[in-house]
Each structure stands twice: as structure tokens, then as C-alpha cells.
């Protein structure tokens, strides 16, 4: 049962091979038995899960089941879930029981999903290793001395270690794609605006986007079908029709034009990873695709632009955590200033404070033009590069990360080295484009991810391409755990 994909579980529920309650009970037991070695979950919600499962079974008995009814999944602990702790990986929100549901959570509930629990993450989604969690680091199921990536490291580890059939994640600079790559699963960051951000605790509002983290592209299609769509509560949510993602999975790839950015195959890329990517590209050619080199000239500038824009927005977004209305409040504040500085100083972790300070500085008087404005201009140049490239090719492919999973503690004291890990993922968030990470090989027993970048709202095409690859290869079926 734990080796079945989300799609296969949906089929099993439809056939009556098992009930949602049986399924849910089994997964809950597995999590309780196994998660201590990975620390993928912050909160388990067994009562709620079994209650939702019972409801799903009743719906199925009444003939009212949809495709998602009764399927158990995990939510990243960045999504507000009513009556359940929503910590965002922070001491600041350790005591925060959300009084409302994120739109995404509401949509899964309406579709009949069962929530197993809330997954671990880098505090406020700031990190690429999941070492920045108040609840401790998550361990990579392929090698528990290594990081799973971040910030959606808990979701990635849970799916890889068969502790959830699928999970939700969020991606501000690579936070879905990078952990998906490092844990050998499938991750999709949709187009900015495709999935509602309401109830998803903001890191950088103009970059944040939620997406599915699954074992296969077909599972991601199933998940995205539930997540995508316009939300009147989110001004930045797109009013663009949602296609049937599953219906297009089987289209052939003949004639597909793949662009390969020179900049993504540069010296910073590990040569063994490069070899795995090349092999995947040969596979696509075998499926009828053609490859051609393209230029994304401003690629290297995505790091400075991102590390101004994201912290600037974050410095403002995180001002609401002030110890007044919810969240952590310091003991015995002696005055208002003390309440603010100690609640925030004690409630936030080191990386969060670092980014708040970078952002505060970048927006402060006299520096705005040199930093923030400049970064937004570079952001446009980066976007233009993609728009031009995507006139000549259907999709762009390349690596997700320059290295495979690194050791816990290896880069934790060197923020710049950590930021450099994001070089291939940040650009998409700046441009707002959709991107996927799918397993395409291994180096020394650690998974390697292939990144597929598409045009705005071309999630259906990305899923189709990924699915076709997964029909021809078995990297996505490799498991780090023995069942």
C-alpha cells in the first residue's frame, strides 16, 4: 500500500480495494512508527484524519465520491488549518492555532482529501536545507546525515520516505523544486497566481507560489487539479481557466522543442549531475524531442536580485509578528519597545532575522534605488530573457541544483554558499514562470533532479512532458526505504 502512487490509491479506493479509513489508519501508523528518523512532520492530526476518512467513506457509499475523495495527504505547515497548530516552522507561531483555513486547504477539504498532518519546513520558508526549523532539521531519506533541501523539506522527505502519498509545498526561490530534486520526487511550482496564496503564510508575496510534491507527474496532475483556480480573496490570483491536467498526460512528445540554457550547464554544475541531465535529454530525443542551446544571459544576476527582493518583502511581511495579537510574546515586557524587540528577537530564528535585516536595509532611506529598484529592474531583464527564449522553444530544461544533497551542518554557517545552491531555481520565481523537478538519475546513491521550465500557465504541458519521461524511465519509482 505504501508503494502505491496517489493515482493508484485513488483507483484502489474506487475499486473498493480498501476504505479511506483503512488507508488513513495504515499511513498514520507508518508515520508514527517511522518519522522519528526523518522529522518530516511537525504535527500529526490522527483524529481529524480519521474523521475526514470516515466522512469520505460515507460519501463514497452515498455515490458522491470525486477523484480525490478519501486520499490522504500532508500539508506544509505554512498553510493555515483551522483548529490545528500552524507554526511555519517558527517559535514565533509555536502556539498559533489558526482560526481559519487557507483557500488551498479549503479546496482539498471540499475535494474530500484527508489531512495526515503538517510537515516540517525552514522557518517562514527561508532556507534551502530545512536546518532553519524551530522543530529541528529534517533528514534526507536517502541518507539521513544529509539535508532534504528546503524550505519544503518535510513534505519532500515525507513523500520520499513513504510517510505521505503526496504533500503540498510552497516555492519562493526553489522551495518545492530543490527538495524534490534532493529527495528524488516530483515537484511542481505553478505559474505565479495559479494557486491562491490566501492563508499561506507569506514570505515574499510577489514570489511565493504553492504546488504539489508527489511521486509521479500523474499524481502532481491530480493534486494541481484540486489546488489551481481563481480565488477572490487573493488579488494576485489569476483569472485563467484551469485545464484538465490528467487528460493531457498521454500526449506524445514528438516535435517538442527543448531549449538548453548555456548558463545552466556552466562550471558551477557538478559534472556528474551534468552527465545525468544529458542522459535524460537523450531520452527526450528518443521520445521525438529536439534540443537546442539558448541564452538566459542574466541568470547569474538572479541571486543578487532575489536576495534583495525576497528579504525586502519579507521584512515587511513579517512585521505583523509583533507579540500583540497572536504568536510569541516575550516574558514580562517592560515597555512597548521591549515587547517588540524581545518578542521578535526571541521568536525568530537566525536566518529569518538575517533576511529581515537585509530587507530592512535594502528599503531604508538612501538605499532604495541602489538595491530594491535596481533588483526590480534586473527582475524585468530576467523575465525578458525567458519570454524571448520561449518564443523559440516549447520548454527549457536544465538542472535543479548544482549539487546533490549536502551534509547537515555543511553550509549552515555560510549563508552565501547556501544561497548559491539556488542559482537554477530563483529565476523562475522572479519571472513568475512554472517549473518542475523530476528525478532523472543518481550520483553516488543520491537523487538528481531535472528541471523543466514552461511558459506562463503551461502546467499541463510540463505535466505531460514529465509523465511521458516517467513512462519511459524508472527513476521516479526508486525508493530510499524498504517496505
Amino acid at each position: 500500500m505504501f508503494d502505491l502512487t496517489l493515482t493508484q490509491l485513488a483507483d484502489g479506493l474506487e475499486r473498493g480495494d480498501f476504505s479511506s479509513q483503512e488507508l488513513t489508519q495504515a499511513w498514520l501508523e507508518r508515520i508514527q512508527r517511522e518519522d522519528a528518523q526523518y522529522n518530516a512532520y511537525i504535527t500529526l492530526t490522527p483524529e481529524l484524519a480519521l474523521q475526514q476518512a470516515a466522512q469520505a467513506d460515507a460519501q463514497r457509499a452515498a455515490g458522491q465520491a470525486g477523484r480525490f475523495t478519501g486520499l490522504p495527504i500532508a500539508h506544509k505547515d505554512i498553510f493555515c488549518t483551522i483548529g490545528v497548530k500552524t507554526s511555519c516552522g517558527s517559535k514565533m507561531l509555536d502556539n498559533f492555532i489558526a482560526p481559519y483555513n487557507a483557500t488551498l486547504v479549503e479546496r482539498f477539504n471540499t475535494a474530500g482529501a484527508v489531512m495526515l498532518g503538517k510537515t516540517n519546513m525552514d522557518e517562514f520558508a527561508m532556507g534551502s536545507s530545512n536546518e532553519n526549523s524551530y522543530y529541528g532539521p529534517v533528514r534526507n531519506p536517502w541518507d539521513t546525515t544529509r539535508v532534504p533541501g528546503g524550505s519544503s523539506g518535510g513534505s519532500a522527505a515525507a513523500v520520499a520516505a513513504r510517510l505521505a502519498p503526496a504533500a503540498t509545498g510552497t516555492d519562493t526561490g526553489g522551495s518545492i523544486r530543490q527538495p524534490a530534486a534532493l529527495c528524488g520526487i516530483t515537484g511542481l511550482k505553478p505559474t505565479y497566481g495559479r494557486v491562491s496564496r490566501y492563508g499561506m503564510i507569506a514570505y515574499a508575496s510577489s514570489l511565493d507560489q504553492a504546488g504539489p510534491m508527489t511521486r509521479t507527474a500523474a499524481d502532481a496532475a491530480l493534486m494541481l487539479q484540486v489546488m489551481a483556480g481563481h480565488d477572490p480573496r487573493d488579488s494576485t490570483s489569476a483569472e485563467v481557466a484551469v485545464p484538465d491536467y490528467t487528460a493531457q498526460l498521454d500526449l506524445p512528445l514528438k516535435g517538442l522543442r527543448i531549449g538548453l540554457p548555456d548558463e545552466y550547464f556552466s562550471s558551477s554544475l557538478d559534472s556528474q549531475i551534468a552527465a545525468q541531465i544529458q542522459q535524460a535529454l537523450r531520452q527526450f530525443e528518443a521520445l521525438g524531442a529536439t534540443c537546442k542551446p539558448i541564452r538566459l544571459a542574466n541568470t547569474a544576476r538572479c541571486i543578487p536580485a532575489y536576495y534583495i527582493i525576497a528579504p525586502a518583502e519579507a521584512s515587511s511581511n513579517l512585521s505583523r509578528f509583533d507579540g500583540v495579537r497572536y504568536g510569541y510574546r516575550c516574558e514580562e515586557p517592560k515597555d512597548l519597545m521591549d515587547l517588540y524587540t524581545r518578542s521578535r528577537g526571541e521568536g525568530f530564528g537566525r536566518e529569518v532575522k538575517r533576511r529581515i535585516m537585509i530587507g530592512t536595509y535594502a528599503l531604508s532611506a538612501g538605499y532604495y534605488d541602489a538595491y530594491y529598484r535596481k533588483a526590480q529592474q534586473i527582475r524585468r531583464l530576467i523575465q525578458q530573457d525567458f519570454v524571448e527564449a520561449l518564443k523559440e522553444v516549447d520548454v527549457i530544461m536544465g538542472p535543479v541544483t548544482p549539487h546533490t544533497a549536502f551534509a547537515i551542518g555543511e553550509k549552515n554557517n555560510d549563508p552565501v554558499a547556501m544561497y548559491m545552491e539556488d542559482i537554477f531555481t530563483l529565476s523562475l520565481n522572479l519571472a513568475g514562470l512554472p517549473g518542475m523537478s523530476i528525478p532523472c538519475g543518481q550520483v553516488a546513491g543520491l537523487p538528481v533532479g531535472l528541471q523543466i521550465i514552461g511558459n506562463y500557465f503551461a502546467e499541463d504541458k510540463l505535466l505531460n512532458i514529465a509523465h511521458q519521461f516517467q513512462q519511459a524511465t524508472d527513476w521516479h519509482t526508486q525508493s530510499p526505504v524498504k517496505l
Partner: protein, 485 residues
């Protein structure tokens, strides 16, 4: 040295929308603390703003009313600072691209002329909550019901030259926003609040002096007094060899003085940047034109019409049009009585006096226009005298009802029976021999004035009910008959 005062105003106007600028919570005033602060208003993690279409419409209406350019593209920005009544830690406002661009209004000066006050711009923003400093064991209580109420902040150029002009400008803005119906105008509830930037300079100088900002003044009278007080302080300071410090000051109406708000004024660094949760607001000419078509008659136009249509003096028309509700009341009265002069006298006389005494707005008047019209038609058709009318008005004010019923019940009808009036006149002439003799001995041109005494006596005798015209006629005839031939 002779000094010139330079004043610029920033007026915050609360828009009378049903809901907040970025959330669907109600804006109604006076609810229990925090019962109208929803998840968005409390800045709960993950919540997002969505812009209220009515706030946009109202801001555009205001822009059109002050002859301003309308921003076809406006952008919300975040003004970052920490304060307990500011839940997000930033105020969503507009800076570089506001909804209303440069415009102007004309105000009447003390000398009877007009002065054009330029409006630099007006922008949309959200109000903050309220801090309550009553004793909560030495703590401050925060009520966020007001947080997110839409505001238009109207920023003038430093074009005013006296406290009176500043107050006249504020009154004019008040008249415009109430006429447009975009603000309830209730200053006591904070629906309109004023910050005054005040500086002085030697008369004839072109350079601006260092200004101070007087914060949050919520009455026209206080605007005037606060500025006068502050100007006097600045003059004293400079003439004693001191310098004005740029700072925020608070006006204390009880002591009639201004004082510095913070001893150690912290240099503000608001770190403005475009709000990434909101997209640019884009409107087109069609949208603006549609709003232009729906604009009501504005105070200046209405005043001009009152002067020509109702033959009112410039002053009376100005007073009546200063508040749109008052002008509406007046016009309803004119429509129902057909007497513009009588209606004006009553609105600015008895009605205004009673409203002032009880500190009421005309919208809260216990006597409606229809009730008052019922009274005025009885004056006009001479059923009652003006003096009796005031008694009836007092009853209408305190007990309600309608004029006719009160007149009937109290027997206040005017006496027009010639026989009864003649009897009263005869009685007065008979009883007041000394005054009659004086009358008869007086120069002819003085007699008219002396008639007043006898009028008073007859009216008193008839308990105010005798028709004054008839009384006057009869008195004159009968007294003149006594004159030696």
C-alpha cells in the same frame, strides 16, 4: 518685524463605505471593541487584501469635485512602522502614484475676496485602530474596529495665509465631501481629521520657514485656535532669538496651547515600497466619465444657484451651502412652503440655535423639514404669528407631532376677528393715557416708532394671537383720529 503665516493642510476623510478598504468587515461606528476586525484587519498570518470598488469610486468623485487630474494608474505602497494600532506593521497607502493628482478649490477670504488653494494630491489609504489608555492595570488596550477603514488623505499646497483661511479651506472640503456623500462629515467621531503644517516668514520673503505639524485636530474652531496659538508661539520664539524645530505638536484645547509630541523625535524611515499583495489600480476615461455624470451639484454651484433662484444674500447662501444636509433641508423647506426668505430665516435662526445648544448635526434634528414646513405655512397664511410660531417650534422640538395639531390643541390660532381686536385696541388706548398724550404731542415722523409700544400692549393682551397687521392698522387709525385737526 511683520510676519506672514504659511499654512498647508493634510485632511484625512473617512469614506462612508459599507466595508473596509481591503476586507469585507463592516465600518459602522461604535461597535464593541474588535467585533468589526476580521482576520484580514487583524493581519492574521496568510491573510490578503482585496480592494473595495466603492472606495475607488468615492476617491475619483472627490478628485473630480476639486478639479483634479485623476490617476488612471495608481499604486498602493507600504509605509512600514511599528505601532500597536497598526496590525500589519505597515500602512497600505499611496505615494508615488496616487489616485488624485493636482487640483484646487476656491475659498472666501476675510477681506471678502477668494483665494485659490491648490491641492497637491489626494491618496487612498487605510485607517489605523485605536489605542485606549484607560486603566487596564497600567496597560493600553487596542481596538482594531477602525483598522482598515478607507481614508482619502487630501494634501494641500502651503497656500493659506491665516488661521481663518485654513478653517475656511477645511470647511469647504467638509462641504464638498458631505455633498458628494462620500463622508458623513461627523468630526466628533473622527470622520474628518486635520493635520496643519504651520510656518512663519518675514512678510515679503519667498522662502518657507521651518514648519511644525499640528496633529489630529477634529473641529474647525480648534483648527483656527490651534494655528493662532502656534503662530504666536513661533513668532515669540524667533523674536526672542530662538529657532523653530521641525516637529509634530499636539494642540491642547483646554489650555489653548500646543506641545511637542515626542521629546526625542525619532527619525522616521518608513521604507516605502509597492505593496506586492495588491496590483496597480487601472481605470479608463469611460469609468471617470461615468462617475462625472453622477456627481451631485457641488457647494459652489449650489451657492450660486441659491443666490439667483432664492434671492439670498451671498452670506446666507454661503452659510446654507456649507453643509449639504443643511442645504437639502433648506431646499425641502422652500419646496413645501414656497417662501425662500422665511425658510432661510428659520433654518439659520431658530433651528440653528436649537441644534447648536444641543450640539446636534442637522441630520440629527428632532424637527424634520416636513414638520418645520407645516409650521411655516401657518405663519405664511397668518394662522399664527411669528411669536406663537416659536412656541410651537419648541413643542415640535421637545415633543414632536405636527404644527396644526399643536396649534389646535393649545388654541394658538391668530385672532383676525376685527371686533375682538378693536376691543383690545380700545382697551389699551383707554388704559395708557400718558403714552397716548406723548404720542399725540410727538413730531409726525417719530410717531411710527412710538406705535411699537401700543403694539406690544395689544399683543400681550391677546396673548400673542392677534394679527399684528390688523392691530397696527387699527391702532394707527384710532390714535390718528385723536389728533387735533
Amino acid at each position: 518685524m511683520e510676519w506672514e503665516t504659511v499654512i498647508g493642510l493634510e485632511i484625512h476623510v473617512q469614506l462612508s463605505t459599507q466595508t473596509k478598504i481591503f476586507s469585507g468587515a463592516s465600518t459602522a461606528f461604535g461597535a464593541e471593541p474588535n467585533t468589526q476586525a476580521c482576520a484580514v484587519d487583524l493581519a492574521l498570518p496568510g491573510t490578503l487584501p482585496v480592494f473595495n470598488e466603492n472606495a475607488l469610486r468615492m476617491a475619483v468623485m472627490f478628485g473630480l469635485a476639486v478639479n483634479a487630474e485623476i490617476g488612471k494608474r495608481s499604486v498602493f505602497e507600504r509605509k512600514n512602522y511599528f505601532y500597536p494600532d497598526l496590525p500589519k506593521g505597515y500602512q497600505t497607502t499611496q505615494l508615488a502614484e496616487p489616485i488624485v493628482g493636482p487640483g484646487y478649490i476656491d475659498i472666501e477670504t476675510e477681506e471678502g475676496g477668494t483665494r485659490r488653494v491648490r491641492i497637491h494630491h489626494a491618496h487612498l489609504e487605510e485607517d489605523a485602530g485605536k489605542s485606549l489608555h484607560e486603566d487596564f492595570h497600567g496597560m493600553t488596550g487596542i481596538d482594531l474596529n477602525r483598522a482598515g477603514t478607507p481614508l482619502v488623505e487630501i494634501v494641500s499646497e502651503p497656500d493659506m495665509r491665516s488661521a481663518k483661511e485654513a478653517a475656511a479651506y477645511a470647511r469647504k472640503i467638509h462641504a464638498i465631501v458631505t455633498t458628494l456623500g462620500i463622508c458623513d462629515g461627523n468630526m466628533a467621531e473622527g470622520s474628518m481629521r486635520c493635520d496643519c503644517n504651520v510656518s512663519i516668514r518675514p512678510k515679503g520673503s519667498e522662502t518657507l520657514g521651518t514648519r511644525t505639524e499640528l496633529k489630529n485636530i477634529n473641529s474647525f474652531r480648534f483648527i483656527e485656535r490651534a494655528i493662532e496659538t502656534e503662530v504666536a508661539r513661533q513668532i515669540d520664539l524667533i523674536e526672542d532669538g530662538g529657532r523653530v524645530v521641525q516637529e509634530t505638536r499636539l494642540y491642547d484645547p483646554d489650555r489653548n496651547q500646543t506641545r511637542s509630541m515626542r521629546s526625542k523625535e525619532e527619525a522616521n524611515d518608513y521604507r516605502y515600497f509597492p505593496c506586492p499583495d495588491l496590483l496597480p489600480v487601472v481605470i479608463d476615461e469611460t469609468y471617470i466619465e461615468q462617475i462625472r455624470q453622477t456627481l451631485p451639484e457641488l457647494p459652489d454651484a449650489r451657492k450660486a444657484r441659491f443666490i439667483t433662484e432664492y434671492q439670498l444674500s451671498e452670506y446666507d447662501a454661503g452659510v446654507l451651502c456649507a453643509d449639504s444636509a443643511q442645504a437639502d433641508y433648506y431646499e425641502a423647506l422652500v419646496k413645501q412652503t414656497g417662501d425662500a426668505k422665511l425658510a432661510a430665516n428659520w433654518v439659520m435662526g431658530e433651528l440653528a440655535k436649537n441644534l447648536n445648544q444641543q450640539d446636534l448635526d442637522i441630520r440629527q434634528s428632532p424637527v424634520s423639514a416636513t414638520q418645520l414646513a407645516g409650521l411655516l405655512v401657518r405663519i405664511k397664511d397668518e394662522t399664527i404669528t411669528g411669536k406663537i410660531a416659536k412656541q410651537v417650534f419648541e413643542i415640535l422640538w421637545s415633543e414632536g407631532g405636527n404644527a396644526d395639531a399643536i396649534i389646535d390643541a393649545k388654541g394658538l390660532k391668530q385672532v383676525t376677528d376685527t371686533g375682538a381686536i378693536e376691543a383690545a385696541v380700545d382697551q389699551v388706548i383707554a388704559q395708557c393715557t400718558p403714552q397716548v398724550e406723548q404720542y399725540l404731542a410727538a413730531e409726525p415722523d417719530k410717531r411710527g416708532k412710538m406705535l411699537g409700544f401700543f403694539m406690544g400692549q395689544v399683543m400681550k393682551l391677546s396673548q400673542g394671537k392677534a394679527n399684528p397687521g390688523q392691530v397696527q392698522g387699527l391702532l394707527k387709525t384710532k390714535l390718528d383720529a385723536l389728533l387735533p385737526k
